[in-house]
Symmetry: D3
Subunit: 243 residues, 6 copies
């Protein structure tokens, strides 16, 4: 792949500038403002000292985790109507919330959080593609901050989060296999993957879709390799943000 051929000057395997601003919402147990280029997401982690009713009813031990995702109305150029005004949560939002929840569960040992629910909230402040992968990446940092505080305060006796998770998008855009797509690339991509991995290099979730197109096994393998490279770099940045 030749260099500098993407619209924003990046090479195909180059991430956008990724930054973390911890403590953005001081009342949360843990919080961070994560940026993937122009995509900015507020991630809050809050502990509630009870678990869903069905866990008690069914005698399930340990804790629980729930994720909610939302785009703030002014995060897009054309104002996005609030879910609360529409009276329902749209399908895309539901899908993303479930993805964030599953991803976080791969990083957490819920048995070590008895009687607690960890709420993960991701609110998009500025949207420019990859809001779900930025959300997962920020959620992992916010959760770790929260857990470190709960361990320090003695609320938690054991560390339920030995590893972190991070996510990135990869796709096929104008015939190129590219990493971390901004909106203008995502809009026109033929194939679109979201990949979630642990800090230990294992896959947690792979979601690949041919957008009115299809893809081959060989393409899939190359795209996963690209994602792996990106997530490795993101994991390093997450670690730095937490220290």
């Amino acid at each position: 792949m030749s260099e500098n051929i993407r619209l924003d000057g990046r090479t195909c395997d180059q991430l956008r500038t990724i930054t973390f601003e911890p403590g953005i919402a001081p009342n949360a147990t843990g919080s961070v403002l994560v940026s993937f280029g122009n995509t900015r997401v507020i991630c809050g982690a809050t502990i509630e000292k009870r678990v869903p009713g069905w866990m008690n009813a069914q005698g399930v031990e340990g804790g629980w985790i729930t994720a909610e995702y939302s785009m703030l109305p002014y995060s897009t150029h054309d104002r996005k109507q609030r879910d609360s005004s529409k009276g329902r949560v749209d399908g895309r939002t539901v899908e993303i919330q479930r993805l964030i929840g599953r991803s976080m569960r791969a990083a957490l040992d819920l048995k070590k959080m008895p009687g607690m629910t960890l709420w993960i909230d991701c609110d998009v402040l500025q949207a420019d593609g990859g809001t779900r992968t930025a959300s997962i990446t920020g959620a992992s940092v916010a959760a770790k901050i929260a857990i470190n505080r709960l361990l320090a305060d003695g609320v938690l006796k054991q560390n339920p989060m030995e590893k972190s998770v991070a996510a990135v998008s990869v796709g096929v855009w104008q015939g190129l296999e590219v990493l971390d797509l901004p909106y203008v690339e995502d809009r026109d991509a033929d194939v679109d993957f979201n990949v979630v991995m642990t800090s230990e290099g294992e896959f947690v979730e792979v979601q690949g879709t041919g957008e009115e197109a299809t893809f081959t096994h060989a393409q899939l393998d190359r795209l996963l390799a690209l994602a792996k490279k990106g997530i490795g770099e993101i994991s390093t940045l997450q670690l730095a943000a937490l220290s």
Copy 2:
């Protein structure tokens, strides 16, 4: 892998018995009752001679497709409450509806269905794992029946559906990589994939999740190969059902 070690006596790479009963709902333009073992889904394809308002508003040409999925209350051993009684569609249902819709779009050229919406409805009559993959597989057959009728009646001038789609689940269960998981395997699987492919052997959608577990690139490659084998067999059965 040794043979006959699954609970229902199948080998790891063996599908359940798959059957199609076309015409189950005669008022639909096309319909089929698809069975993957004990999982049975009624799939209806109905044509509506208008497109969503936003298509007219934005001047988008061609047709549209929408999929809805539902589990009938008596499809599970413990009665499943209707979405209409709950007053909302749950997250899992939303996710499946979107997956069916995206999968069907890969098989259809909407430009060749001007001014029409194809409604795909999948109602689960009996649930035993793999309801979403059975739904996609049945939806493709029901849609093809509908389109053949519309072509015969002259309502459609061109064939918008040159290929079919089919889907199957693969996963890691008790250390084994297995094809087409029934409920008892699905419940305990460590890794769970849903794979959608065209009749031409291309991937449409790959969704892989580590259920409180993770997976490696090598595992993913073997699971996709297993899915490819299964979908090849299913495509042949679809073709037979349509003739």
Copy 3:
């Protein structure tokens, strides 16, 4: 009345072909696919081992019964929108659900089902007039299958269902008093009755409406006699289906 003057060749006092296919939904405690000509309804009976909260709160003994009715989207020529998509159950559906519930209560001695709720679900697969009367008729068969199984399994100690119920429509169409109206007659009928009776020949419910018309006491008496004849024949078919 002369013979063979109805659009489908029936005499005025002749039922459509009525059939029962038990076991259509194997996960239900009891189920049947009932057909009144082209009207086909899936009826499922499911037992839940608890009663509504208010019964416990008010100290009411015995069991409970609840009925739900729905038209599958592809049951009509023009696709019928799902209640779950509309976010509410429409008035006609509510009315039919309440009628099915009241009718079933006439056949059941709820005191003999302590601590249990019997759920009756009726999903219309194909609609051609008389879906509510077919639903009641099928519900009675599905409930009896469920109760026989529960008695055999020792879950029930006493038989709460000593009699069955059946229903049929009668009406005035083009000046004729006719039995079991299909859609084309129902649409144009001046007077429309739905009649529910027990297998012992007693009335459970009579609902008669002049559709932008009125009727006399003498007409009402003749229509009820016609309904009585039809329900007698239907009761015999129900009995045969259960043996």
Copy 4:
């Protein structure tokens, strides 16, 4: 039947005191406060100078009528929660609204109300049995007042309401066939009928239910005769209220 054996001292075939107070809601086109003994209902008739969208869309000519029914929270001894607080209209309310609407349509020739919707609102101020029959009876008076005003103002060119409708309940209570049941009788009745007739003595609607009981054809005939007597008297009172 012996006299004075009902709890309130009435004979079996005696109505409660029925009164009409026209003009209770001066901003309505027509209104009346109707009382059947302690049951009191505010009935408002309002004209809206447009018809539902589907009438225009389908090219249906004439006008429309819609009825809404509600129990005010303080109409019952135990406060009744508002539908708006529950976020949904309950099944009994839906059933009654539809019954009022159908009854009024029997009295009106909608073709003579082109481009207009007649809204009928019935709000129960005090509930003591028979609120639906009082509502229909009051609705007919309120509608007639409204129509007389519209004819006087020249808004209507033709009289769409040549006859009135009235309704009453009859039932079997403690073995007696009784007319116009108050709450204490209605609660314990074995058989419960609501009957709607025109001022010309024709039946509009007959709804008879065995409440956990059944009834014979002979019983039904006697109950209808009782209803006919009562409705005749009510029609005379309606006429007096309008003059």
Copy 5:
């Protein structure tokens, strides 16, 4: 201010004719029909012998009060759609309900109503401006009737309502500072105040809004003096209605 310059012939500091008709809804514990000129509101006060769940959960002692407000559909010249039909309570209604509730709490000592909820329902029968101030004024009377009955019956041991509340609107209309605005003045007012006071002459609530206009401190002081005068007169009428 000169006399007789308002549209309805009143002087600037003159109230409309204010009347109270107690007992309008006999099943309520207390009720009144209050009229401020053509504005008429049914106010019902009902006692429920339990408190909201959160009070028990948090160990809060005493009783509770909740207010609901609604405009009957025929209270306005153009029919007002029911909240239950819209499926939601609109913003203005929410605002008024909260205002009535806060106002009533100033008159009641909830500690003297242990384990009870007082429901205040205000339903507007005819709307002509000032429905919220009429509602508060009537609610105070209905509540007092209810409390007197509960004290007489020994249900309440102590009197929780030593004082009453009343409310009135004041505003700037066509440059004039006027008391108790009817709809035609309210619609065109530049400044609009709703003022709630106790029978002891203390302020409970002051809500002043410049409708696309602003106001000075001096204007505010004069408007409050005007309100004080009006509320003094209304308190006297409330007292008379209760004797």
Copy 6:
């Protein structure tokens, strides 16, 4: 009043530290993060180039303004459930949204924004009392930034916002009349006022409530004077933030 007697060391007439961070949400037309001490609110102003349907229908000229307010789930110590999850907007939120909207309308000449809707969104990032007054104050800044950009771009021909608005709370806490209450004071205040004024020193809105208490005219006058002093200082800070 003696100094330094408030919990946070402020004098009674001293504001918290108030700051503005413009451009927090770059996709909005105008945005600002406003802080009143620990209370932080993201305010976004977005232009939509159409007006509500009823304005076209009724032929109302000019533009429109709508405000939405929300507390982010992690803005409070105990996580606040999202309105979208509850399925409804709560009463307090509705009240605040309407207050923000009315306040902004006092600053804007909608006739100079033909065919445009200005959306004001206020999302609370951290809550510590006074979120509604901070929201109004920030909204005014965000709107002004948006309008300046639209004037610069030629989208607006005339300046619809010649003045700004600002708001502050005042109240009686432990016998003291205090300015700009944080949560711990607000929770225990006997009297609570929210005051909105223009940059020209005129009142826009005065909302004063005795929280289970009452207040006198003299108290009200002193509280308004206190508010006036605070708002004067805030207006100066707003002006600085915009330059």
